[in-house]
Amino acid sequence: MAERFTLTVNGAAHTVEVDDPSMPLLYALRDELQLNNPRFGCGLGQCGACTVHLDGRAVRSCTVAVSAAASAKITTLAGLGTPQTPHPLQTAWIEEQVSQCAYCINGWIMTAAALLEEKPKPSDEEIKTALSDLICRCGTHGAAFRAVKRVVES
């Protein structure tokens, strides 16, 4: 039977009604709230294209049940920063011209943002380890690393 949940996304509360409380958060964000930035890549938690912040932690929204996200503060890439008030990583991503197709971009920026929140000056190895479970098929890995470095060194 349909159940209702309140989701707090990018600072605003929304009520969603779902037929299955185990439905992944990704589909609530995309289909119910029409937030297009988290993307479906694998549905298995293997690639990172659907990454959002749950109370500041980077999680893969394809593997988090909507019921488990109801009490958390959810932030998506579009809520991380705006053209007027960009997150430093978004600025660095433009300065380094990192992405090509950008289908994977949520994973990289949201994961790196969570890392920098926890540890503003990570070592090169720590950056690489934090980003090591992300997939990009355009080959932007090196550029993404340079963009994160740029923020760390600024």
């Binding site: 990018n10 605003a12 929304h14 779902v18 037929d19 299955d20 439905m23 992944p24 589909y27 995309r30 289909d31 709230l33 029409q34 937030l35 297009n36 930035n37 993307r39 479906f40 890549g41 694998c42 549905g43 298995l44 293997q46 690639c47 294209a49 998506t76 890439l77 579009a78 991380l80 920063g81 705006t82 053209p83 960009p86 978004q90 991503w93 433009i94 011209q97 992405s99 090509q100 197709c101 950008a102 289908y103 994977c104 971009i105 949520n106 920026i109 690489k128 980003l131 090591s132 992300l134 997939i135 990009c136 098929r137 355009c138 080959g139 932007t140 890995h141 090196g142 550029a143 690393f145």
Partner: protein, 752 residues
């Protein structure tokens, strides 16, 4: 919330059918244009390619796409240059069959070299016509006038008139010379001459990409994000054994899922539901009885044995001079080398997605295929509609480099929408994006060389044997070329073709050719083959450039010196020389003798190619650990000559990213399958490169030749990675790797 409000507004506009305007409004990337009032799209009309708005904005109608490599910006630069307008004033409309002429979609990295040059020519012609109009308006001869920022001035500077005043929102109604072709072969030109390199102000500079801010701030709508009123979400149901078809379907197995329904047309099976998650659940739960099928695939481990033994169904000798047989007979010794390349998947990060709305004998599809114009023709064929009743609108989507699965998803959506009478969105699941996309072919590349008593190579032969790279055509222009057509039983139209490395090396006796074998399964095969990025580069260059190195080593010649000895074209030679110099190449034969018994060894290798008029050499330095079999790329140096460079920074990025991607294909990627089905279904069973395997340093040396026409850059460098790494491993260890991917197990076995 503002964002949701904006999106709701878009949905409302979609409901009114004002799609073009809606997308323009919500997506600043799309230009506002007078599209509705434009004259009919004729390839020989200037108005089909370019429009100037009432505010002086310039809209370019580019019948290709930008998959994320910066073409949108580079093409706009070329147009801005010829028109003498600021780049910011140029907006690009990419493939939409109602608004753009078919210029080929994305294909062969020809965006700049073909379509960019044609649009440059159109812009130059528009400028010439505007100067003529200004001459009449200002009472001055056109050749006495000058243009800056879209404003025309008399020589004294006392009178001015702007492009907007002259033509804003009206049409040129001017004819171009058109060669009668469409797609990649379309050529148009006007009477105007394009600028000389000495006059460039915008070409050769590096403005940032126009598409990136939207992507970085999470505001770019992709094909996945199209939502239409009453739209159903669909999931396709695929068999567990290739070739099996649905015999019966138990619809009661999904009866408790709200709104879920089965669509079963011939062998095509899908579930649909108003809510996406319910469609996914229904697809997981649906009980299907499948027919018996015994594909008897050889399995990926024995695939090359199969290729070696399979009868040749098509053969072509591309280049032949002298007599290889005579040369080999007269040789003091003959060297033979065989190199195996695996089946590889496009493995796009996003599995394909397509949206279709078919009603009242008309169809609109939103697609991220690389070939929207051809997809329109294919969908018309599939639906039994005249092509002019089908509109294909390209949208950004997951990166696609070659004929991936996007066209298949679009076709599935069109068939389902026609059947159901409502809009349908098909989103493939991860396993479909790996197991069911059309694949890049595996190959066995074999070479022979005859060396005379003095150490000179007198005979050379290179033959690549593979499945056809066009078993599934790349253009999607007929129902036979999409999976839905296969499942609906349309007659197939396979073409037999492979290819050869461009034969830059000169030898007295030389033969270069290809052989094609029959596909493992004729219809609806999960292993059907087509173009994967750099369609035949990696398989054939892994063979040919590894073998050239093998011959250099056999004659105790430095690999750079050996290549230069057999290359005569100055641009070939420059690419090799520049890469070696920039790397700091120490001339000596491979392998490096000192490390023979060390566990960790470092080596360097070079590979070279010419592709169209692009000349590239890549030096790779790698570290090999014998005990683990792990290869670590340390440093790449790439010399790259593409002729005229439009945007140097974007070009560097394009090369940098594809070298990383090429590393993935070299070290990790192989489609696995058993006798029944592809078993690579996710990122664990189709491993790809992660952050820890990225080369520590990639240096790119651009060779600028403004006087030469621009060639392509989108895929040519990546084809050198397998041979460059393989040659570096040989230099480090004295062992030659003969099979891609260079997995630790395989490297360990080779080094044992």
């Amino acid at each position: 919330m503002a964002e949701t409000g904006e999106l709701n507004r878009r949905v409302f506009l979609l409901a009114t059918g004002a799609l073009a305007i809606a997308l323009v409004d919500c997506n600043p990337r799309q230009a506002a244009t007078n599209g509705a009032t434009r004259p009919p799209l004729m390839p020989d009309q200037l108005d089909s390619y370019l429009a100037i708005g009432p505010n002086g904005s310039v809209t370019v109608f580019y019948g290709r796409i930008d998959g994320g490599q910066g073409l949108e910006t580079s093409i706009a630069q070329m147009v801005a240059e010829e028109l003498d307008v600021p780049l910011e004033r140029v907006r690009m409309v990419m493939s939409d069959t109602a608004r753009t002429v078919n210029m080929g979609g994305a294909s062969g990295a020809l965006g700049v070299s073909r379509s960019g040059m044609h649009l440059r020519s159109c812009a130059a012609e528009a400028r010439r016509l505007l100067l003529e109009m200004a001459g009449d308006a200002l009472g001055a001869p056109p050749d006495s006038l000058s243009v800056a920022d879209g404003v025309i001035r008399t020589s004294g500077g006392d009178a001015t008139i702007s492009y907007a005043q002259l033509i804003g929102d009206r049409h040129f109604a001017a004819k171009l010379t058109w060669n009668g072709e469409y797609g990649n072969d379309l050529m148009v030109s006007g009477k105007a001459k394009i600028k000389e390199p000495s006059e460039f102000k915008i070409i050769g500079t590096s403005p940032r990409r126009k598409d990136l801010p939207l992507k970085v701030f999470g505001r770019l709508d992709m094909v996945n994000d199209v939502r239409l009123p009453n739209m159903l979400h669909a999931r396709m149901i695929r068999p567990r054994v290739a070739g099996a078809v649905p015999v019966s379907v138990d619809e009661s197995s999904i009866a408790d899922i709200p709104g879920a329904r089965v669509v079963h047309i011939k062998d095509l099976l899908a579930v649909v539901a108003p809510k996406e998650w319910n469609a996914i659940r229904a697809a997981e739960r649906l009980k299907v009885t499948w027919s018996e099928s015994h594909p008897n695939f050889p399995g990926h481990e024995k695939l090359h044995e199969h290729i070696r033994n399979a009868p040749v169904i098509a053969r072509h000798i591309e280049t032949e001079n002298g007599s290889v047989e005579d040369g080999l007979r007269n040789a003091a010794r003959v060297i033979e080398g065989e190199y195996e390349f695996p089946t590889q998947s496009h493995a796009s990060l996003g599995p394909a997605c397509g949206v279709a709305d078919v009603k009242n004998g008309e169809a609109t599809v939103w697609t991220s295929t690389q070939k929207p114009h051809y997809a329109r023709d294919g969908i018309a064929d599939l639906l039994g509609l005249p092509p002019e009743r089908v509109r294909a609108i390209w949208m950004f989507g997951t990166g696609s480099y070659g004929r991936n699965d996007q066209g298949d998803a679009t076709a599935d959506a069109a068939v389902l929408s026609q059947h159901l009478g409502v809009p349908v969105r098909v989103q493939y699941m991860r396993h479909e994006g790996l197991a069911w996309d059309p694949k890049g072919t595996a190959s066995v590349n074999r070479s022979r060389a005859g060396i005379d008593a003095s150490g000179k190579v007198i005979a050379y032969e290179n033959i690549g044997k593979a499945f056809s790279r066009l078993n599934t055509a790349t253009n999607e222009g007929s129902a036979a070329h999409v999976l839905a057509g296969h499942l609906l039983g349309v007659p197939l139209e396979p073409e037999q073709s492979f290819n050869v490395p461009i034969a830059s090396y000169t030898f007295d006796h030389k033969r270069i050719g290809w052989e094609v074998i029959a596909p493992l399964m004729e219809r609806a095969s999960p292993l059907r083959t087509t173009h994967l990025r750099d369609p035949y580069g990696p398989p054939i260059l892994f063979g040919s450039e590894s073998f050239i190195d093998e011959v250099a080593a056999a004659t105790a010649t430095d690999p750079v010196e050996f290549r230069l000895r057999h290359l005569s074209h100055p641009r070939d030679r420059d690419a090799v020389r520049v890469a070696a110099e920039k790397y700091g190449w120490d001339a000596r034969p491979s392998p490096k003798s000192a490390q023979r018994n060390a566990d960790v060894a470092i080596g360097r290798g070079i590979a070279f190619r010419r592709h169209f008029e692009t000349f590239i050499a890549l030096v790779a330095e790698v570290r090999v650990t014998r005990s683990t079999g792990v290869i670590e790329p340390l440093r790449y140096v790439c010399a790259h000559d593409v002729g005229l460079i439009v945007n140097p920074e974007t070009l560097r990025h394009v090369i940098d990213r594809q070298l990383v991607y090429g590393t993935s294909r070299t070290l990790f990627e192989e489609v696995r399958f058993d006798e029944n089905m592809v078993t690579s279904v996710d990122w664990l069973t189709y491993p790809v490169l992660h952050m820890n395997s990225v080369p520590q340093s990639i240096e790119i040396e651009l060779i600028s030749r403004p006087e030469s026409a621009p060639s392509g850059a989108g895929e040519m460098a990546l084809g050198l990675v397998p041979a460059a790494i393989g040659n570096a491993v040989f230099d480090a260890t004295g062992v030659r790797l003969r099979r891609v991917p260079f997995t630790p197990e395989r490297v360990k076995a080779a080094l044992a």
